[in-house]
């Protein structure tokens, strides 16, 4: 039995936006896999909820005319993994969200919920950061476009106004074209776990596969929010594909991060993981791109 004060189930996006304008304090319920847990534990008990789960317009993946990949926020993790567009152009995103919890969570949990929840451990977040995702945010006043890089304001806090709902996640063509990615989720268990650390790398190599044209790397749980490691990216740009590449990425990545000590893991241990996962994810991404060490 869940302690909701009121629950609304709009039939259209317009209705949803209107309800959100009328009830700015209401929670937007997508798959519910975070909100129901917090409601049960009492943290969100007695809330008013607007369930958008029935809004199929907000579900699915497509390619727009300019090659941008558009992911609607209610797309479940399992549908993202199984989606042919994702599998063809950004397989690493499908692989990343396939590591969320277990099969049941992946069937109900949505990618929009995952990033709007604003936690640093979100499995989709580091890959979406590393691919320069752009968010479409709607309200009764219209649509706002925001780089995902600017979305996270702090732990559990995102740049969504009280009358707004996330309606789209876009990945521009230049971000994903000719790139190869690797996500490593480090957790104590192989399933039903949250990341102690997550690392997502994607690379574009030169035609002869000997030089790094572009490398992007982002982490979950390496700071209070998911973050890009820009020094590491800069240092890797133009680097030769050889064993020292991993050291270059890792030694710079640790300058970009700010993990904290919690009872779940110490800062020291997380730093070890940041260094080691940077190396392993870089190596794997480069190898997928055809690079040889």
């Amino acid at each position: 039995m869940y302690d909701f004060e009121k629950i609304y189930q709009p039939k259209t996006i317009e209705q949803a936006l209107k309800l959100k304008a009328e009830h700015p304090e209401a929670l937007i319920l997508a798959g519910g896999s975070d909100i129901l847990i917090k409601t049960r534990s009492g943290k969100l008990a007695g809330s008013t909820v607007i369930s958008i789960y029935g809004l199929d317009e907000l579900r699915g993946v497509c390619i727009e005319d300019d090659g941008t990949i558009l992911i609607r926020p209610l797309t479940s993790f399992s549908h993202i993994t199984a989606n042919p567009i994702i599998a063809k152009y950004i397989p690493v995103l499908g692989e990343a969200v396939d590591q969320v919890g277990g099969p049941q969570i992946r069937n109900i949990g949505t990618i929009g919920g995952n990033i709007c929840n604003g936690v640093t451990s979100a499995d989709s977040a580091s890959t979406l950061k590393a691919y320069d995702a752009v968010l479409e945010i709607a309200s009764v006043d219209g649509i706002r476009i925001l780089p995902y890089a600017e979305f996270n304001l702090g732990p559990g806090k995102v740049d969504l106004h009280p009358n707004e709902i996330l309606t789209g996640i876009r990945i521009p063509k230049d971000s994903y074209e000719n790139t190869y990615g690797q996500y490593i989720k480090y957790s104590q268990r192989n399933a039903m776990d949250i990341a102690t650390l997550g690392c997502s790398v994607n690379v574009r190599l030169s035609a002869d596969c000997k030089t790094v044209e572009r490398l992007r790397i982002a982490f979950g749980v390496a700071a209070p929010t998911p973050i890009r490691a820009l020094s590491a990216e800069k240092a890797a740009t133009g680097a030769q594909v050889n064993e020292s590449l991993m050291e270059t990425v890792a030694s710079n990545a640790i300058l970009d991060v700010n993990p904290r000590t919690s009872w779940r893991a110490s800062k020291e241990f997380r730093m070890q993981l940041i260094s080691e996962l940077s190396r392993r994810a870089t190596r794997a991404a480069v190898e997928k791109a055809g690079g040889k060490f």
Binding site: G42, A45, S266
Partner: protein
Amino acid sequence: MVVGKPVERVDAFDKVTGRAKYTADMFPENALIAKVLHSTIANGMVISFDLNDALKVPGVVKILTCFDVPDIQYPTPGHPWSTEKKHQDIADRKLLNTHVRFYGDDIAVVIAETELAAKRALDLIQVKYEEQKAVFTVADAMAPGAPLIHDEKPGNVIVHSNYEFGSFDSAITEQGLIKVEGTYHTQQVQHCHIENASSFAYMEGDRITVVSSTQIPHIVRRICTQALGCSFGSIRIIKPYIGGGFGNKQDALTEPLNAWLTTQVGGRCVGLFYTREETFVCTRTRHAMDFDITTYVRPDGSFAARRIVAYSNQGAYASHAHALVANAVNAFRMMYPVGAIKGDAYTVYTNIQTAGAMRAYGIPQIGFALEAHIDDIAARLKADRIALRQKNMMQLGYVDPGTTITCHSTGLQQCIDKGRKFIHWDEKAKQYEHQTGSVRHGIGMAIFCYKTGVYPISLETSACRMVLNQDGTVQLQMGATEIGQGADTVFSQMCADTVGIPLESVHVISTQDTDITPYDTGAYASRQTYVCGMAVKKTGLSLKRKILEFAAFMLHKDVSDLDLKDSWIVHTVSNEKLIALSDVAMEACYSLTNSHHIAAEETHHCSDNTYSFGACFADIDVDIPLCKIHVNNIINVHDSGTIINPLLATGQVHGGMSMGLGYGLLEQMLYDPKTGRTLDDNMLDYKLMTASDTPELNVQFVEPSDPTGPFGNKALGEPPVIPVAPAIRNALLNATGVAVDSIPLSPEHLFFEFKKAGLIK
């Protein structure tokens, strides 16, 4: 004959189709729900409550607090009662407690029409405390000036026991001995049974019925009478199917409070269903234990003298108290009963959640410490790890000087041989020498001995009833409980063979109801197949004799000429089929001249015990930079005497190995060091192994028939958990040279160990 056959579980169909009824399935509509208010301090006194806002919540029926409960302290552990005062369990808690002793203690209860109303009211209760300093570790609780947790135990030490066999002090004066010392720590873990602590209670007339998910219905009945100050006859406990217990439900959990709550609302039915978080915090756990071990060993590997000092963190209430660490230091002696042996054990109150019984009752703790220590000795002596064990381990005929428990049978050597061969020990040992690199391989092993029942420390008694139906089938009724381990199935197998009927003719009654069910202390230790198996055998023979006597009357033959085989009365010598059992049963029931309602009920008072044995062998990879252990291959080989049902036995070993892997690698209960609040009170943060973390679990048995077992059998239920953690720890030592002396071997723990050892910079 079906004993020894891999027959299907008798409850398999009902369980997989969802027909089997558990406590919550039987909870009536429109009953009331109770929710407990738990303390938010770890040590101190409740001064007052403000209930005004809470009472205004619609649907709230009644709120009861620690100031309302009977002024009675009662014990909770599921031990057979002792009529001798000095052996009685410690009565140290009330139904709700004014003196709060851990973060989560029960201080008040809301009874409401709905769960939501009860929860909302809980949030509105204001509590005023007088907080005192809390102590969470044994060292802090034993330190001078530590806060007093229970007035009855100044200094917080519940029991200090000791033993000495041979003279330790003179044994260590022998020339040429090598002294090896070690300190080992095991952590607090939880049982994680699927079904949370659950019960409901109602009154009929002046009597209280409690339906509960318990391993020990008859004992819970006794405890309820003690907690409420009422008579045995006024309490009735019903135990339906239960979703696991592993020792947590070998304790009175929600039942005494629940029994009292129904009396406070005019006997209306009240349910008390713990959440997973409450089950983590407010039930029982495995004791965290620390061991200081010293061994004086001769250069040839034989032990001259051994010393152990053990400290057990009991938490807030005594529950099973000292019995576990006493069991641990006894097993230290029994496993390697060589040379002079001296032991001390302390059980200490602290302000963490209460520890109690958990699968293998103190032995996984000593199993880890002792078997780690044996590998540490081998490393020091550069001795062969297996040979060192073989030189000193328990042999056939051993009589323990402390308990008189005798080694009636042992297949330990064959267990070691089989495991060694399976894991390719000798080849791997060579292959894994002198490794470098970031991923290294290792092999490790550990052995154990385990006593089957609780004799002679406690009473061992079991009763059984069999009733013959008109069709020649039999109802089998046990006081012993099915808790998922397969007891109903093996009892049915035993009944079938003893009476002389096929398995399909046995209808086991799974539910225990203390109004109806014969007495038994319940499912704990690894006693049921052994002790209660003896009761089945005795009752089966008694029923068979009564059937044959009636058949002899019908056939005008001497009863000594008759036998019962496969539901036929046969001639003992010729085996000629004389009359079908069903015909005898019909006539016995409906005879106009000589009706007999044939039934048998017998008690077996058990005055024996026996050891089971086993070994675990593990082959692991250690990814040093990621601080992770991967188990490549693992096997448990068990000597549990004759295996009654190989299918169930294998399942039992799988479950135990999984529990052992979690114990060794991941599981631990974590506390906020400031407040004592449990941090990982849920299945996300508490790292119970998932299926995808579990390697293929290999199981083999050796089956020396035990002369004391009813069917040559001995303990199997608990032992599989024991040797896994030390085998993995020893494989880690083999792989990396790093001797880790505490568990779990979790990534963060390994990180700091590897750093200390210079493997990680």
